[in-house]
Amino acid sequence: MSYLSIEHLTKNFGGLSAVSNVSISVNEGELVGLIGPNGAGKTTLFNVLTGVYKPTQGKVILNKGGKSIELSKLPPYKITHQGVARTFQNIRLFKDLTVLDNVKIAMNQQAQYGLFGALTRLGKFYASEADIDKRAHDFLKKVNLDELAYDLAKNLPYGKQRQLEIARAMATGAKLLFLDEPAAGMNPQETQALTEFIAKIRKEMDLTIVLIEHDMSLVMNICERIFVLDYGKLIASGTADEVKNNRKVIEAYLGEEE
Protein backbone atom coordinates (compact mmCIF):
# COMPACT_ATOMS: atom_id res chain seq x y z
CA MET A 1 0.00 0.00 0.00
CA SER A 2 1.40 3.36 -0.92
CA TYR A 3 2.06 6.06 1.63
CA LEU A 4 -0.23 8.65 0.12
CA SER A 5 -2.95 7.60 -2.24
CA ILE A 6 -5.15 10.03 -4.08
CA GLU A 7 -8.12 8.12 -5.40
CA HIS A 8 -10.31 9.40 -8.24
CA LEU A 9 -10.20 12.92 -6.91
CA THR A 10 -12.52 15.50 -8.46
CA LYS A 11 -13.04 19.11 -7.44
CA ASN A 12 -15.68 21.19 -9.18
CA PHE A 13 -16.27 24.91 -8.83
CA GLY A 14 -19.76 25.57 -10.06
CA GLY A 15 -19.74 23.97 -13.47
CA LEU A 16 -15.99 24.08 -13.83
CA SER A 17 -13.94 21.02 -13.07
CA ALA A 18 -10.62 22.19 -11.69
CA VAL A 19 -9.43 18.69 -10.90
CA SER A 20 -11.12 15.71 -12.47
CA ASN A 21 -10.70 12.08 -11.59
CA VAL A 22 -7.05 12.27 -10.61
CA SER A 23 -5.43 9.24 -9.02
CA ILE A 24 -1.85 9.40 -7.79
CA SER A 25 0.12 7.23 -5.38
CA VAL A 26 3.23 8.37 -3.62
CA ASN A 27 5.56 6.01 -1.78
CA GLU A 28 7.20 6.79 1.50
CA GLY A 29 10.43 8.72 1.03
CA GLU A 30 9.73 9.65 -2.57
CA LEU A 31 10.24 13.08 -4.07
CA VAL A 32 7.52 13.63 -6.59
CA GLY A 33 6.96 16.54 -8.94
CA LEU A 34 3.65 17.88 -10.14
CA ILE A 35 3.81 19.95 -13.30
CA GLY A 36 1.43 21.36 -15.84
CA PRO A 37 0.61 24.58 -17.63
CA ASN A 38 -1.00 27.50 -15.81
CA GLY A 39 -4.52 26.75 -14.68
CA ALA A 40 -4.00 23.01 -14.89
CA GLY A 41 -5.37 22.53 -11.37
CA LYS A 42 -2.13 21.94 -9.51
CA THR A 43 -2.75 24.38 -6.67
CA THR A 44 -6.38 23.30 -6.42
CA LEU A 45 -5.16 19.73 -6.01
CA PHE A 46 -2.86 20.90 -3.20
CA ASN A 47 -5.72 22.74 -1.57
CA VAL A 48 -7.80 19.59 -1.58
CA LEU A 49 -4.90 17.52 -0.25
CA THR A 50 -4.36 19.92 2.65
CA GLY A 51 -8.03 20.29 3.51
CA VAL A 52 -8.59 23.86 2.36
CA TYR A 53 -11.18 22.52 -0.08
CA LYS A 54 -13.36 19.47 0.33
CA PRO A 55 -13.25 17.20 -2.71
CA THR A 56 -16.39 16.91 -4.83
CA GLN A 57 -15.62 13.24 -5.35
CA GLY A 58 -12.92 10.77 -4.46
CA LYS A 59 -10.68 10.63 -1.43
CA VAL A 60 -7.19 11.13 -0.14
CA ILE A 61 -5.71 8.45 2.09
CA LEU A 62 -2.57 8.54 4.17
CA ASN A 63 -1.16 5.20 5.25
CA LYS A 64 1.18 5.45 8.16
CA GLY A 65 2.15 3.06 10.90
CA GLY A 66 -0.25 0.45 9.58
CA LYS A 67 -3.22 2.82 9.82
CA SER A 68 -5.22 4.36 7.01
CA ILE A 69 -6.31 7.92 7.58
CA GLU A 70 -8.77 9.56 5.24
CA LEU A 71 -7.32 13.05 4.97
CA SER A 72 -10.13 14.33 2.80
CA LYS A 73 -12.46 14.13 5.79
CA LEU A 74 -10.29 16.28 8.06
CA PRO A 75 -10.01 20.06 8.46
CA PRO A 76 -6.61 21.58 7.58
CA TYR A 77 -5.26 21.74 11.14
CA LYS A 78 -6.02 18.07 11.77
CA ILE A 79 -4.32 17.12 8.53
CA THR A 80 -1.26 18.94 9.84
CA HIS A 81 -1.50 16.93 13.06
CA GLN A 82 -1.26 13.81 10.91
CA GLY A 83 2.21 14.87 9.84
CA VAL A 84 1.32 16.58 6.58
CA ALA A 85 2.26 20.21 5.95
CA ARG A 86 2.53 22.62 3.08
CA THR A 87 3.95 25.85 1.75
CA PHE A 88 2.12 28.40 -0.33
CA GLN A 89 2.61 29.72 -3.83
CA ASN A 90 2.59 33.30 -2.53
CA ILE A 91 4.66 32.98 0.64
CA ARG A 92 2.48 33.08 3.72
CA LEU A 93 4.90 33.60 6.56
CA PHE A 94 3.91 35.37 9.76
CA LYS A 95 5.65 38.44 8.44
CA ASP A 96 5.72 40.63 11.53
CA LEU A 97 7.04 37.86 13.77
CA THR A 98 10.57 36.69 14.19
CA VAL A 99 11.96 33.66 12.42
CA LEU A 100 12.07 31.94 15.80
CA ASP A 101 8.40 32.65 16.52
CA ASN A 102 7.40 31.40 13.09
CA VAL A 103 8.97 28.09 13.98
CA LYS A 104 7.58 28.07 17.52
CA ILE A 105 4.07 28.51 16.19
CA ALA A 106 4.58 25.47 14.01
CA MET A 107 5.67 23.62 17.15
CA ASN A 108 2.65 24.73 19.16
CA GLN A 109 1.34 21.18 19.38
CA GLN A 110 4.24 20.36 21.64
CA ALA A 111 3.22 22.75 24.41
CA GLN A 112 2.71 20.72 27.56
CA TYR A 113 0.30 23.11 29.26
CA GLY A 114 -3.21 24.45 28.76
CA LEU A 115 -4.96 27.75 29.35
CA PHE A 116 -4.66 27.45 33.12
CA GLY A 117 -0.94 26.77 32.92
CA ALA A 118 -0.45 29.66 30.51
CA LEU A 119 -2.30 32.15 32.70
CA THR A 120 -0.85 31.11 36.05
CA ARG A 121 2.50 29.82 34.78
CA LEU A 122 2.15 26.96 37.21
CA GLY A 123 2.91 23.36 36.42
CA LYS A 124 4.94 22.61 33.35
CA PHE A 125 4.81 26.10 31.85
CA TYR A 126 8.43 27.18 32.25
CA ALA A 127 9.85 23.76 31.51
CA SER A 128 7.72 23.38 28.42
CA GLU A 129 8.54 26.87 27.14
CA ALA A 130 12.26 26.28 27.66
CA ASP A 131 11.92 23.00 25.83
CA ILE A 132 10.12 24.57 22.86
CA ASP A 133 12.68 27.35 22.75
CA LYS A 134 15.50 24.86 22.64
CA ARG A 135 13.86 22.70 20.02
CA ALA A 136 13.13 25.71 17.86
CA HIS A 137 16.76 26.80 18.02
CA ASP A 138 18.01 23.29 17.33
CA PHE A 139 15.68 23.08 14.41
CA LEU A 140 16.82 26.41 13.01
CA LYS A 141 20.40 25.27 13.29
CA LYS A 142 19.58 22.18 11.31
CA VAL A 143 18.20 24.25 8.47
CA ASN A 144 20.92 26.90 8.72
CA LEU A 145 18.59 29.71 9.69
CA ASP A 146 19.71 30.11 13.28
CA GLU A 147 21.69 33.25 12.59
CA LEU A 148 18.44 34.94 11.58
CA ALA A 149 16.43 33.68 14.56
CA TYR A 150 15.62 37.13 15.90
CA ASP A 151 15.02 38.84 12.58
CA LEU A 152 11.51 39.56 11.45
CA ALA A 153 10.39 37.19 8.74
CA LYS A 154 9.53 40.07 6.43
CA ASN A 155 13.10 41.39 6.57
CA LEU A 156 14.59 38.18 5.22
CA PRO A 157 15.83 38.07 1.63
CA TYR A 158 13.37 36.42 -0.72
CA GLY A 159 15.23 33.14 -1.03
CA LYS A 160 15.53 32.83 2.75
CA GLN A 161 11.81 33.49 3.13
CA ARG A 162 11.04 30.56 0.85
CA GLN A 163 13.47 28.45 2.82
CA LEU A 164 11.90 29.53 6.12
CA GLU A 165 8.48 28.63 4.86
CA ILE A 166 9.64 25.11 4.08
CA ALA A 167 11.42 24.92 7.43
CA ARG A 168 8.30 26.11 9.22
CA ALA A 169 6.24 23.41 7.52
CA MET A 170 8.74 20.77 8.65
CA ALA A 171 8.72 22.17 12.19
CA THR A 172 5.12 21.02 12.56
CA GLY A 173 6.64 17.56 12.69
CA ALA A 174 5.50 16.81 9.17
CA LYS A 175 6.84 13.75 7.36
CA LEU A 176 4.97 14.58 4.17
CA LEU A 177 5.49 17.99 2.60
CA PHE A 178 3.58 19.70 -0.17
CA LEU A 179 5.62 22.51 -1.66
CA ASP A 180 3.75 24.89 -3.93
CA GLU A 181 6.22 26.43 -6.40
CA PRO A 182 9.13 26.71 -3.96
CA ALA A 183 11.40 28.24 -6.60
CA ALA A 184 8.93 30.79 -7.93
CA GLY A 185 10.57 34.17 -8.49
CA MET A 186 14.08 32.91 -7.76
CA ASN A 187 17.18 33.51 -9.82
CA PRO A 188 19.25 30.49 -10.96
CA GLN A 189 21.65 30.76 -8.02
CA GLU A 190 18.82 30.87 -5.53
CA THR A 191 17.10 27.98 -7.26
CA GLN A 192 20.33 26.00 -7.09
CA ALA A 193 20.64 26.71 -3.37
CA LEU A 194 17.02 25.71 -2.84
CA THR A 195 17.48 22.49 -4.77
CA GLU A 196 20.36 21.58 -2.52
CA PHE A 197 18.38 22.58 0.54
CA ILE A 198 15.45 20.35 -0.41
CA ALA A 199 17.71 17.42 -1.17
CA LYS A 200 19.50 17.88 2.14
CA ILE A 201 16.48 18.14 4.41
CA ARG A 202 14.80 15.28 2.69
CA LYS A 203 17.65 12.96 3.41
CA GLU A 204 18.28 14.16 6.93
CA MET A 205 14.67 14.08 8.05
CA ASP A 206 13.25 11.16 6.07
CA LEU A 207 10.70 13.27 4.30
CA THR A 208 8.30 12.49 1.53
CA ILE A 209 7.89 15.51 -0.72
CA VAL A 210 5.42 16.46 -3.40
CA LEU A 211 6.23 19.69 -5.18
CA ILE A 212 4.60 21.85 -7.79
CA GLU A 213 7.10 23.65 -9.93
CA HIS A 214 7.44 25.58 -13.13
CA ASP A 215 11.20 25.61 -13.03
CA MET A 216 11.99 22.50 -15.05
CA SER A 217 15.63 22.44 -14.04
CA LEU A 218 14.59 21.93 -10.43
CA VAL A 219 11.94 19.34 -11.26
CA MET A 220 14.09 17.36 -13.62
CA ASN A 221 17.04 17.48 -11.25
CA ILE A 222 15.55 16.16 -8.09
CA CYS A 223 12.16 14.59 -8.71
CA GLU A 224 12.13 10.83 -9.00
CA ARG A 225 8.72 10.72 -10.55
CA ILE A 226 6.74 13.42 -12.27
CA PHE A 227 3.00 13.76 -12.74
CA VAL A 228 1.62 16.06 -15.40
CA LEU A 229 -1.74 17.75 -15.08
CA ASP A 230 -3.58 19.53 -17.85
CA TYR A 231 -7.11 20.93 -17.64
CA GLY A 232 -7.55 19.13 -14.33
CA LYS A 233 -6.70 15.73 -15.74
CA LEU A 234 -3.64 13.60 -15.18
CA ILE A 235 -2.14 13.23 -18.66
CA ALA A 236 1.19 11.60 -17.96
CA SER A 237 3.46 10.26 -15.27
CA GLY A 238 6.88 8.72 -15.05
CA THR A 239 10.53 9.62 -14.74
CA ALA A 240 11.89 12.91 -16.02
CA ASP A 241 12.97 11.38 -19.31
CA GLU A 242 9.70 9.57 -19.86
CA VAL A 243 7.70 12.71 -19.26
CA LYS A 244 9.98 14.88 -21.34
CA ASN A 245 9.35 12.73 -24.39
CA ASN A 246 5.65 12.19 -23.85
CA ARG A 247 3.66 13.51 -26.79
CA LYS A 248 0.67 14.62 -24.69
CA VAL A 249 2.94 16.61 -22.41
CA ILE A 250 4.62 18.36 -25.30
CA GLU A 251 1.23 19.19 -26.74
CA ALA A 252 -0.03 20.51 -23.43
CA TYR A 253 2.90 22.86 -23.12
CA LEU A 254 3.34 23.85 -26.74
CA GLY A 255 -0.20 23.53 -28.01
CA GLU A 256 -1.43 20.89 -30.40
CA GLU A 257 -0.04 20.67 -33.84
CA GLU A 258 -2.65 21.43 -36.42
Partner: protein
Amino acid sequence: MKNLFSKKNLIWLGILIVLFFLVQFMIDARIIIPYHRTILFGIGIFIILGVSLNIIIGITGQLSLGHAGFMSIGAYSAAIVMQYMPDMTGLLLGMLVGTLVSILVSFVVAIPTLRLKGDYLAIATLGVGEIIRIVILNLEITNGASGISNIKNLISWPLLFVFVVAAVVLSANFKNSAIGRACISIKEDEIASEAMGIHTTKYKVIAFIFGAVLASVAGSLYATTYYVVKPETFGIATSINILIIVVFGGMGSLTGSAVSAVFIGIVNMLLQSYAEVRLITYALVLIVVMIFRPQGLFGSKEFGLDKILGFKPPSLKKLRKEEST
Protein backbone atom coordinates in the same frame (compact mmCIF):
# COMPACT_ATOMS: atom_id res chain seq x y z
CA MET B 1 10.79 28.82 40.68
CA LYS B 2 13.89 30.32 39.20
CA ASN B 3 11.85 31.67 36.31
CA LEU B 4 9.16 33.11 38.52
CA PHE B 5 11.68 35.10 40.56
CA SER B 6 13.75 36.20 37.61
CA LYS B 7 15.47 39.56 37.81
CA LYS B 8 12.89 41.06 35.51
CA ASN B 9 9.92 39.86 37.53
CA LEU B 10 11.47 41.04 40.78
CA ILE B 11 12.01 44.51 39.36
CA TRP B 12 8.41 44.62 38.15
CA LEU B 13 7.29 43.53 41.61
CA GLY B 14 9.37 46.33 43.14
CA ILE B 15 7.87 48.93 40.81
CA LEU B 16 4.36 47.76 41.64
CA ILE B 17 4.95 47.84 45.40
CA VAL B 18 6.35 51.36 45.18
CA LEU B 19 3.46 52.48 42.98
CA PHE B 20 0.94 50.97 45.35
CA PHE B 21 2.28 52.60 48.48
CA LEU B 22 2.94 55.90 46.75
CA VAL B 23 -0.67 56.24 45.64
CA GLN B 24 -1.94 54.93 48.97
CA PHE B 25 0.15 57.56 50.74
CA MET B 26 -1.16 60.28 48.42
CA ILE B 27 -4.72 59.20 49.14
CA ASP B 28 -4.12 59.12 52.90
CA ALA B 29 -2.41 62.50 52.80
CA ARG B 30 -5.30 63.92 50.77
CA ILE B 31 -2.99 64.83 47.90
CA ILE B 32 -5.42 62.78 45.83
CA ILE B 33 -8.81 64.16 46.77
CA PRO B 34 -11.94 61.96 46.58
CA TYR B 35 -12.87 63.48 43.22
CA HIS B 36 -9.53 62.50 41.71
CA ARG B 37 -9.75 59.16 43.40
CA THR B 38 -12.95 58.33 41.54
CA ILE B 39 -11.23 59.27 38.30
CA LEU B 40 -8.29 57.09 39.26
CA PHE B 41 -10.67 54.17 39.80
CA GLY B 42 -12.30 54.86 36.44
CA ILE B 43 -8.90 54.75 34.80
CA GLY B 44 -8.16 51.41 36.46
CA ILE B 45 -11.42 49.99 35.15
CA PHE B 46 -10.66 51.20 31.65
CA ILE B 47 -7.18 49.70 31.81
CA ILE B 48 -8.82 46.30 32.32
CA LEU B 49 -11.28 46.99 29.50
CA GLY B 50 -8.59 48.20 27.11
CA VAL B 51 -6.22 45.33 27.81
CA SER B 52 -9.00 42.75 27.49
CA LEU B 53 -10.26 44.17 24.20
CA ASN B 54 -6.69 44.26 22.95
CA ILE B 55 -6.47 40.50 23.49
CA ILE B 56 -9.35 40.12 21.04
CA ILE B 57 -8.51 42.86 18.53
CA GLY B 58 -4.79 43.46 18.80
CA ILE B 59 -3.52 39.97 19.58
CA THR B 60 -6.02 37.75 17.80
CA GLY B 61 -7.04 40.24 15.11
CA GLN B 62 -10.80 39.89 15.59
CA LEU B 63 -12.52 43.27 15.50
CA SER B 64 -15.17 43.17 18.22
CA LEU B 65 -17.52 46.09 18.77
CA GLY B 66 -19.60 44.53 21.53
CA HIS B 67 -17.23 44.81 24.45
CA ALA B 68 -19.50 47.08 26.49
CA GLY B 69 -22.11 44.32 26.39
CA PHE B 70 -19.85 42.01 28.39
CA MET B 71 -18.97 44.85 30.70
CA SER B 72 -22.68 45.31 31.39
CA ILE B 73 -23.09 41.61 32.25
CA GLY B 74 -20.52 41.98 35.02
CA ALA B 75 -21.94 45.30 36.16
CA TYR B 76 -25.49 44.02 36.45
CA SER B 77 -24.46 40.73 38.04
CA ALA B 78 -22.62 42.58 40.78
CA ALA B 79 -25.44 45.11 41.14
CA ILE B 80 -28.10 42.44 41.48
CA VAL B 81 -26.20 40.19 43.88
CA MET B 82 -25.24 43.19 45.99
CA GLN B 83 -28.90 44.10 46.42
CA TYR B 84 -29.07 41.07 48.68
CA MET B 85 -25.52 40.98 49.98
CA PRO B 86 -24.18 44.52 50.16
CA ASP B 87 -20.69 43.51 51.24
CA MET B 88 -17.40 42.27 49.84
CA THR B 89 -18.69 38.70 49.64
CA GLY B 90 -21.59 40.01 47.56
CA LEU B 91 -19.26 41.86 45.23
CA LEU B 92 -17.02 38.86 44.72
CA LEU B 93 -20.00 36.57 44.31
CA GLY B 94 -21.50 39.01 41.79
CA MET B 95 -18.21 39.05 39.95
CA LEU B 96 -18.24 35.28 39.85
CA VAL B 97 -21.81 35.22 38.58
CA GLY B 98 -20.87 37.82 35.94
CA THR B 99 -17.87 35.74 34.93
CA LEU B 100 -19.97 32.61 34.52
CA VAL B 101 -22.70 34.42 32.60
CA SER B 102 -20.21 36.10 30.30
CA ILE B 103 -18.41 32.82 29.67
CA LEU B 104 -21.76 31.33 28.70
CA VAL B 105 -22.86 34.28 26.55
CA SER B 106 -19.50 34.80 24.87
CA PHE B 107 -19.24 31.09 24.13
CA VAL B 108 -22.68 30.97 22.56
CA VAL B 109 -21.87 34.11 20.58
CA ALA B 110 -18.32 33.19 19.66
CA ILE B 111 -18.88 29.79 18.12
CA PRO B 112 -21.03 31.07 15.27
CA THR B 113 -19.83 34.65 14.84
CA LEU B 114 -16.10 34.03 14.90
CA ARG B 115 -16.48 32.08 11.69
CA LEU B 116 -17.11 35.46 10.12
CA LYS B 117 -14.30 37.59 8.83
CA GLY B 118 -13.31 41.19 9.43
CA ASP B 119 -16.13 43.64 8.87
CA TYR B 120 -18.86 41.04 9.20
CA LEU B 121 -17.53 40.02 12.58
CA ALA B 122 -17.41 43.66 13.67
CA ILE B 123 -21.05 44.21 12.81
CA ALA B 124 -22.15 40.90 14.29
CA THR B 125 -20.44 41.68 17.60
CA LEU B 126 -21.96 45.13 17.54
CA GLY B 127 -25.32 43.44 17.10
CA VAL B 128 -24.54 41.14 20.04
CA GLY B 129 -23.69 44.13 22.22
CA GLU B 130 -26.99 45.74 21.27
CA ILE B 131 -28.94 42.54 21.92
CA ILE B 132 -27.42 42.30 25.40
CA ARG B 133 -28.36 45.93 26.05
CA ILE B 134 -31.92 45.48 24.78
CA VAL B 135 -32.38 42.33 26.87
CA ILE B 136 -31.17 44.16 29.98
CA LEU B 137 -33.48 47.02 29.11
CA ASN B 138 -36.44 44.66 29.05
CA LEU B 139 -35.73 42.36 31.96
CA GLU B 140 -37.43 42.80 35.29
CA ILE B 141 -34.48 41.75 37.39
CA THR B 142 -32.37 44.54 35.83
CA ASN B 143 -35.07 47.13 36.47
CA GLY B 144 -35.39 48.22 32.83
CA ALA B 145 -34.39 51.67 31.68
CA SER B 146 -33.98 53.17 35.14
CA GLY B 147 -31.33 50.61 36.04
CA ILE B 148 -30.14 49.76 39.52
CA SER B 149 -28.94 52.39 41.93
CA ASN B 150 -27.73 52.49 45.51
CA ILE B 151 -25.19 49.79 44.91
CA LYS B 152 -22.89 49.60 47.88
CA ASN B 153 -19.63 51.41 47.20
CA LEU B 154 -16.87 49.02 48.13
CA ILE B 155 -14.13 50.17 45.84
CA SER B 156 -10.82 51.08 47.37
CA TRP B 157 -7.34 51.59 46.04
CA PRO B 158 -6.05 48.20 47.26
CA LEU B 159 -9.03 46.40 45.73
CA LEU B 160 -8.71 48.19 42.41
CA PHE B 161 -4.96 47.73 42.37
CA VAL B 162 -5.21 43.99 42.91
CA PHE B 163 -7.70 43.56 40.08
CA VAL B 164 -5.92 45.80 37.59
CA VAL B 165 -2.56 44.16 38.22
CA ALA B 166 -4.12 40.70 38.07
CA ALA B 167 -5.88 41.49 34.79
CA VAL B 168 -2.75 42.90 33.17
CA VAL B 169 -0.52 40.08 34.40
CA LEU B 170 -2.97 37.40 33.27
CA SER B 171 -3.26 39.10 29.88
CA ALA B 172 0.49 39.33 29.52
CA ASN B 173 0.79 35.66 30.46
CA PHE B 174 -1.86 34.86 27.91
CA LYS B 175 0.02 36.73 25.21
CA ASN B 176 3.41 35.24 26.06
CA SER B 177 2.42 31.61 25.85
CA ALA B 178 1.75 29.00 23.21
CA ILE B 179 -1.87 30.12 23.27
CA GLY B 180 -0.86 33.73 22.68
CA ARG B 181 1.42 32.71 19.83
CA ALA B 182 -1.43 30.76 18.26
CA CYS B 183 -3.67 33.83 18.53
CA ILE B 184 -1.04 36.12 17.04
CA SER B 185 -0.54 33.73 14.15
CA ILE B 186 -4.28 33.92 13.43
CA LYS B 187 -4.04 37.69 13.25
CA GLU B 188 -0.99 37.47 11.00
CA ASP B 189 -2.40 34.97 8.52
CA GLU B 190 -5.31 32.74 9.34
CA ILE B 191 -4.81 30.35 6.45
CA ALA B 192 -1.13 29.83 7.21
CA SER B 193 -1.98 29.45 10.89
CA GLU B 194 -4.42 26.65 10.15
CA ALA B 195 -1.84 25.03 7.88
CA MET B 196 0.56 25.03 10.84
CA GLY B 197 -1.88 22.86 12.77
CA ILE B 198 -3.48 25.66 14.78
CA HIS B 199 -7.17 25.02 15.48
CA THR B 200 -8.00 28.63 14.64
CA THR B 201 -11.65 28.58 15.73
CA LYS B 202 -10.71 27.19 19.12
CA TYR B 203 -8.14 29.89 19.79
CA LYS B 204 -10.39 32.66 18.56
CA VAL B 205 -13.08 31.44 20.93
CA ILE B 206 -10.62 31.20 23.84
CA ALA B 207 -9.38 34.76 23.21
CA PHE B 208 -12.93 36.06 22.89
CA ILE B 209 -14.07 34.42 26.11
CA PHE B 210 -10.96 35.53 27.97
CA GLY B 211 -11.55 39.13 26.86
CA ALA B 212 -15.24 38.93 27.73
CA VAL B 213 -14.53 37.63 31.24
CA LEU B 214 -12.08 40.45 31.99
CA ALA B 215 -14.59 42.98 30.63
CA SER B 216 -17.21 41.50 32.92
CA VAL B 217 -14.91 41.83 35.94
CA ALA B 218 -14.27 45.45 34.97
CA GLY B 219 -18.04 45.90 34.80
CA SER B 220 -18.48 44.58 38.34
CA LEU B 221 -15.86 47.03 39.57
CA TYR B 222 -17.67 49.77 37.65
CA ALA B 223 -20.93 48.96 39.46
CA THR B 224 -19.41 49.26 42.90
CA THR B 225 -17.37 52.36 42.00
CA TYR B 226 -20.21 54.42 40.55
CA TYR B 227 -23.04 52.70 42.51
CA VAL B 228 -25.46 53.12 39.60
CA VAL B 229 -25.84 50.95 36.51
CA LYS B 230 -28.07 51.85 33.58
CA PRO B 231 -28.46 50.15 30.21
CA GLU B 232 -27.50 53.33 28.35
CA THR B 233 -24.04 53.34 29.96
CA PHE B 234 -23.16 50.18 28.06
CA GLY B 235 -24.08 51.15 24.54
CA ILE B 236 -22.01 51.32 21.41
CA ALA B 237 -20.40 54.59 22.55
CA THR B 238 -18.68 52.76 25.41
CA SER B 239 -17.52 49.98 23.11
CA ILE B 240 -16.02 52.63 20.84
CA ASN B 241 -14.37 54.37 23.79
CA ILE B 242 -12.61 51.12 24.62
CA LEU B 243 -11.68 50.69 20.97
CA ILE B 244 -10.12 54.17 20.99
CA ILE B 245 -7.97 53.16 23.97
CA VAL B 246 -6.77 50.08 22.10
CA VAL B 247 -6.05 51.98 18.89
CA PHE B 248 -4.16 54.77 20.67
CA GLY B 249 -2.14 52.33 22.70
CA GLY B 250 -1.32 50.17 19.73
CA MET B 251 -2.87 47.01 18.39
CA GLY B 252 -1.28 44.16 20.26
CA SER B 253 0.53 46.24 22.87
CA LEU B 254 -0.96 45.46 26.27
CA THR B 255 1.21 47.97 28.09
CA GLY B 256 0.26 50.44 25.35
CA SER B 257 -3.42 49.97 26.21
CA ALA B 258 -2.69 50.54 29.89
CA VAL B 259 -0.73 53.72 29.21
CA SER B 260 -3.35 54.98 26.79
CA ALA B 261 -6.15 54.34 29.30
CA VAL B 262 -4.27 56.47 31.84
CA PHE B 263 -3.59 59.16 29.27
CA ILE B 264 -7.17 59.31 28.00
CA GLY B 265 -8.48 59.24 31.57
CA ILE B 266 -6.40 62.31 32.44
CA VAL B 267 -7.37 64.13 29.23
CA ASN B 268 -11.02 63.36 29.96
CA MET B 269 -10.65 64.89 33.38
CA LEU B 270 -8.99 68.02 32.07
CA LEU B 271 -11.57 68.46 29.32
CA GLN B 272 -14.47 67.55 31.58
CA SER B 273 -16.53 70.59 30.66
CA TYR B 274 -15.88 70.39 26.93
CA ALA B 275 -17.49 67.04 26.22
CA GLU B 276 -18.18 67.62 22.53
CA VAL B 277 -14.77 69.06 21.75
CA ARG B 278 -13.24 66.09 23.49
CA LEU B 279 -15.24 63.53 21.55
CA ILE B 280 -14.62 65.34 18.27
CA THR B 281 -10.91 65.34 19.00
CA TYR B 282 -10.97 61.60 19.70
CA ALA B 283 -12.83 60.96 16.48
CA LEU B 284 -10.31 63.03 14.55
CA VAL B 285 -7.37 61.32 16.21
CA LEU B 286 -8.91 57.92 15.45
CA ILE B 287 -9.16 58.83 11.76
CA VAL B 288 -5.70 60.37 11.58
CA VAL B 289 -4.07 57.46 13.41
CA MET B 290 -5.72 54.96 11.05
CA ILE B 291 -4.60 56.90 7.99
CA PHE B 292 -1.01 57.44 9.05
CA ARG B 293 -0.35 54.67 11.57
CA PRO B 294 -2.91 51.88 11.24
CA GLN B 295 -1.13 49.63 13.73
CA GLY B 296 -1.91 52.17 16.45
CA LEU B 297 0.24 54.83 18.02
CA PHE B 298 2.77 52.49 19.61
CA GLY B 299 2.28 49.55 17.29
CA SER B 300 2.65 46.15 18.87
CA LYS B 301 5.67 47.15 20.94
CA GLU B 302 5.44 46.67 24.67
CA PHE B 303 6.84 49.15 27.13
CA GLY B 304 9.19 46.78 28.83
CA LEU B 305 12.16 46.68 31.08
CA ASP B 306 14.24 44.99 28.42
CA LYS B 307 15.42 48.20 26.84
CA ILE B 308 15.83 50.14 30.06
CA LEU B 309 17.84 47.40 31.70
CA GLY B 310 19.73 46.49 28.58
CA PHE B 311 18.22 43.03 28.19
CA LYS B 312 18.59 42.18 24.55
CA PRO B 313 17.34 39.12 22.78
CA PRO B 314 20.12 36.61 23.39
CA SER B 315 22.63 37.40 20.71
CA LEU B 316 24.27 34.72 18.65
CA LYS B 317 27.57 35.19 20.36
CA LYS B 318 25.98 34.45 23.68
CA LEU B 319 24.21 31.43 22.26
CA ARG B 320 27.44 30.07 20.87
CA LYS B 321 29.19 30.69 24.15
CA GLU B 322 26.53 28.78 26.01
CA GLU B 323 27.00 25.93 23.66
CA SER B 324 30.74 25.72 24.16
CA THR B 325 30.48 25.76 27.94
